[in-house]
């Protein structure tokens, strides 16, 4: 496996780029890259011989921390520091809904594979909010149970601040990572908390389930402790810990073929990890500042053997690689 650098866009945004995701292709257009930035905009990019900007979408206040695309490729959502989730059409930038659940911040977003639910990491509410995508109503709140013996006034309540979410490939489970390093797994259908996955003691900023058809229970987590953990999310066990990043691991994504994962870190590098060897096989140093997001293009279309990987960074730039 190998990443080959394709192109980079310098100053893709006016300020740090914090989030990226691929919007699936629709009937009338190819898949697009969606990026969110501190400059309060969300931008769309098309890839053919380098990245070309398609559109700049405004209407996001105080920095976009996360973006998510609906499986249909028609709509997308963004979360900003002002704690609003804005749902908009990809092609027209028409606001469909503005989601707000008071007293909870919003961080990472993800649509479930079926596209019926949008999960939003709920920050200090220590919960994940599930929004119905048909009517944009709050469907359920998956709360992390408070450890017993802790008074509500205890500051440690803060530590369960939820930062990241990930849907299992079948959409039945949902994992969320929090500031204190614990990962909580929920049964979505029953809206029930299942268990914690332990091992990190620093914020878990990114989570992703394995895409390999036979390793569906495998969950990858990226944490500020510089480690990437591989969990069996149902067996509650830590399978392996990958060390190598010199600073926080900010983002992790699994390759569509399930054989590798890519990580982005504060140490300004993007690493490609071979899951068989459990070692970094490639270190890419295109970026000059923290790499906030990495995203593999989902396996859309017909028989595309090469997948794209995008990385976005505080250096305002986007880099694109092909994975083969």
């Amino acid at each position: 496996m190998k990443l080959t650098w394709l192109s980079s866009v310098e100053n893709a945004h006016d300020d740090s780029v914090w989030a990226c995701t691929w919007v699936p292709a629709t009937d009338d257009r190819q898949g697009l890259l969606l990026t969110g930035s501190l400059d309060e905009t969300v931008r769309l990019w098309r890839h053919n011989d380098g990245l070309a900007r398609v559109n700049t979408l405004t209407g996001h206040c105080l920095g976009v921390v996360s973006v998510a695309a609906h499986p249909s490729g028609r709509i997308a959502a963004s979360a900003s520091i002002d704690s609003y989730v804005r749902v908009f059409t990809v092609d027209g930038n028409d606001t469909i809904a503005t989601l707000d659940a008071p007293s909870s911040e919003v961080w990472q977003l993800q649509f479930n594979p079926q596209g019926t639910t949008l999960a939003v990491a709920g920050g200090s509410s220590a919960s994940v909010k599930l929004w119905d995508t048909a009517e944009w109503k709050l469907n359920a709140t998956l709360s992390i149970p408070r450890p017993e013996g802790i008074k509500p006034s205890d500051k440690s309540g803060n530590k369960k601040f939820v930062l990241s979410v990930a849907w299992s490939p079948d959409g039945r489970h949902l994992a969320c990572g929090s500031m204190d390093g614990t990962i909580s797994v929920f049964d979505v259908a029953r809206a029930k908390f299942l268990h914690h996955l332990e091992g990190h003691n620093m914020p878990v900023r990114s989570l992703v389930y394995s895409t390999a058809p036979l390793d569906k229970r495998v969950l990858f987590s990226a944490s500020d402790d510089g480690q990437v953990h591989i969990y069996d999310s149902e067996g509650k066990t830590l399978i392996a810990s990958l060390s190598g990043h010199a600073s926080w691991v900010l983002s992790v994504d699994a390759s569509p073929d399930g054989a590798a994962i890519a990580t982005g870190s504060s140490d300004r590098t993007v690493r490609l990890w071979d899951l068989k060897m459990r070692a970094a096989t490639q270190i890419l140093t295109n970026h000059t500042d923290q790499v906030w997001g990495v995203a593999f293009q989902p396996p859309g279309g017909t028989g595309v053997r090469n997948h794209l990987l995008a990385s976005v960074s505080d250096d305002k730039g986007i880099s694109l690689y092909s994975y083969s």
């Binding site: 206040c61 390793d215 495998v218 069996d232 067996g235 810990s241």
Partner: protein
Amino acid sequence: MACVYIPVQNSEEEVRVVLDQLPRDASDILDILKAEQAPLDLWLIIAREYFKQGKILQFRQILEEGSSPEIDEYYADVRYERIAILNALGAYHSYLGKIETKQREKEEHFIRATQYYNKASRIDMHEPSTWVGKGQLLLAKGDLEQAFNAFKIILDGDRDNVPALLGQGCVQFSRGRYSDSLELYKRALQVYPQCPGAVRLGIGLCRYKLGQYEKAKQAFQRVLQLDPENIEAFVALGILDLQTNESAGIKRGMEKMQRAFEIYPYCAMSLNYLANHFFFTGQHFLVEQLTEIALAVTNHGPTKSHSYYNLARSYHSKGDYEKAVRYYMASVKESNKPQEFVLPYYGLGQVHLKLGDLKSSLSNFEKVLEVYPENCETLKVLGHIYVQLGYTKKAQEFLKKATKNDPRDAQAFLDLGELLISTDAGDALDAFKTARNLLKKDGEEVPIELFNNIGVLHFERGEFQLAEQTFMEALGDGIWVKFIGSNAPPDPNVEAGSNPREETQYNPINKLNLERVIEEGYDTMKEADSDNMKVKSEHVEGAQFNHTGKSVFRPIAARLSILKFTHMQVFQQLEENGIAVELPCDKISTLFNLARLLEQSHNTEAACILYQLILFKYPDYIDAYLRLAAIAKARNNVQLSIELIGDALKVDDKYANALLMLGDLELKNDDWVKAKDTFRAAKDATDGKDSYATLSLGNWNYFAAVRSEKRAPKLEATHLEKAKELYTKVLVQHTANLYAANGAGVVLAEKGQFDVSKDLFTQVQEAASGSVFVQMPDVWINLAHVHFAQGNFALAVKMYQNCLRKFYYNTDSQVLLYQARTHYEAEQWQDCKKTLLRAIHLAPSNYTLRFDAGVALQKFSASTLQKTKRTVDEVRATVAELKNAVRLFSLLSVASNLHFHGFDEKKIETHVGYCKHLLEAAKVHCEAAEREDQQNKQRLELARKVIVAEENRRKAEEQRKFQLKKRKEEDDLRQVRQQEEHLERRKEQWKSSTPGSKRKDRPQVEDDDGVQGEKRRRKGGKRRKRDKKSRYETEEAEADEPEEMEDEDASMNYRESYDQINDQDDQVEDNPQDLLAAAGLEDSDAEDDAAVPPSNASRRRRAWSDSDEGEPQQRQNESSPVRENSVDMQESD
């Protein structure tokens, strides 16, 4: 049968004296000689005969009688014989003087000899033999110049005088002019070929001195042919043989020495050489005997010195240093000139060194060095002595010289390297490398310590790859190889474009091995763990794996490693499975260093395994516990870290480093009292000598001073004073302690002495930017704080940014907060906002940041609204930001219900209220601005219309003009035609009259006038329109005025209310001491806020936040000389 005949006086008869049968009593002969008035030559012959027979007394008796005054009188005219007798006496006394050891008697003899020669000279000034005698005497006295003159006088008279030639030869030899000497001896031989062998001895010696050993040898052999018992020749030949330095030669030499010894057992030279031989064969008893004889028989200083040296050496090698010293001393005393015989000085130096008398040893070796300034051994020894005496510089000098003189001496390079470690790591590394290469070249085994040192030096220089290679080479093969996984981190430069095959090559095979090793251990364990083994999936490419049917992801190993931080079970399992887990004890340090290296290059997993391997085999290796604890701490696993330190303390509860680390952790846990006790314990454990303990206490005091939310000035002052005292104490002990200097700077800054503290910080910063191990972001931050406090905002921002980038990979929200605060003070609102948003993004659960962001937005809006001139866009942006501020504050207000953060609800309400008020006011503004904008638009529209109208008009005009022109042209044409017609007519008329044509021209002129008038009119119209425009402008200006008035009123209001809110801010700023403290934005509002102190406490970072790293890191220096702040950490390697 030799005999002499003494003629009987006055007769023809003669008395026959058989020389062999001379009477015992010389008086008998004397009587005869006197009675018969025998010729003086007979006297001499008889005296000489006595001398030959060893009857010295008789010899003297006869000669003394023969030189008595009555003889002189009687034989007054027999001059030559009288002179001969005197000369014989002179020569005799010269000889006595020469061999006499007692100074007084020696001189007496010489005086006597001089007297005789003088007497002889009085008889005949020019007698050569007298001069020869005189020359010999002078030679014996050591007066070479005069002897030379004496011999010269003779040779000037008779250049073939053999005795003089020999004498002069001797003089030249003694003067060291061997070739001259050789010439003289040769001439003597030519003149007198039958001369005794001794002359050839001289030739041999000259040749020897000239380095012509073969010819010397021939000469000596010739001597032996002539005189088979000539000891000197034997000894000389023996020495020559010995000097060949071949075993055969030495054997021959020793045989010759033995022969000499057999011929004459009292030749000191041969004795010495024999003793020397037996010293090397180890027969010390013989050595002693021989040298004692030698000492007894000789008075010759250098020879004696040699003998003493032999004796001393013998005792030296037997370990009897007392006696050795005595004899070396004796030897030194005998020769007294190190130039001639330097060995005893060397021996003396060695023995003194052995006895610990460094000073004496030093002086002796220095004497050796004077003689042999290039001698490596001596240079090295001197280097060592200087090291021990503490003169590192000098030691380095000597060792460097030694390595220069002998670039193949591995030991010297090794020594030099060790010496340089503390001063110049680069040179030390070079020296070590040279030593390693030399050892390798010689096929010797390179000691693991050397590899270790090279590795550590590479490590310190940040050359991790090289360091790792070296460590691996040092460790060789062993179980650890299997545990070191992806040790060679992929080359970051290998990227796009390179051959894909190459890239797959760094398939870290070791990693697979690790898996296998662990799996082997795992197989036996899996049954017990089968519950956990539900993952039965097979990886797509998992078939390549040996263990098909099992998941690629094997839960066991990593779970153990991470959660429990222990591989003990795995190791045990491995042993049970028959795989030996072995770790030779000389490799622990290197293994530990390797682990440190892996840790440093972020391969913490492998590092953990190695540390645990060490602990598995050597559970007392505390440092491994501490490193594991440090790793846990870095991952914020405080609990585990404390447990690990607990384990370490179980091994040694007085281990200062463990205690100190525990203290740090307790502090991190906010366990103040405990932390202080721990630090105290650590300090006691080291008798207060460990600067780190003192430093920690200093930090503790500083924290205590600034932490209390209700600042008690008195308490604060005492704590600060105490902190300062402790820092100073450390600085006194170790003047180069950066952390103490930093601490002192902080205290000074806290007291408002910014300039002093700035200097301090700058110096510390410079000093800290040299080593891989010294990471001091704190000092950068402190420096930035000082810049900030002094109002140097731009510089402060720059400093914060550099610090963030250099040390934190831009991940520290606290430093971002400082930066935001600086922007805030500098009124750079957008930068402030962006910085705060970044901080929030990094630390989403820090509500203080959100609050600050709200405040910044609010302030921005307020200040924009206060501005007298602003654009609509600005006002709009203000409104937007105000909305954001309201949003932020209201979110906080909601969150405060849930007690997530410590903000006072009321205060937030105030902010929300204020912002809302501001927003309303702003709305007015916005409306006004929009109205204005509307007007502007209208105006623009109007202007546009005017322009359009103008344009239309212009077009119409042009149209008209065009038509006019056209008409005119038509007119002209018509006119021309008319004129032509006219002309035709005229022509016809001309025939009658001409004047009518003038009148007909007029209408044309009128037409022209008409066009001009039209133009004039148009210009006037333009002017009018311009007037209209300026009238609009004035209207505008008039319309603006009332609005501005309103503005001012409104902003007055804001100002008032804003001032209330900012009162605290201002108070803080009034107090210079607090300026620094106010570096966190939250201070302005958090004075009475219970939740803020923790961030307050961490507000100023200080030495320890990193020095806790620093200390254990230094621990890996074990085998290298230890730096001053890790005095007690050296491991015996």
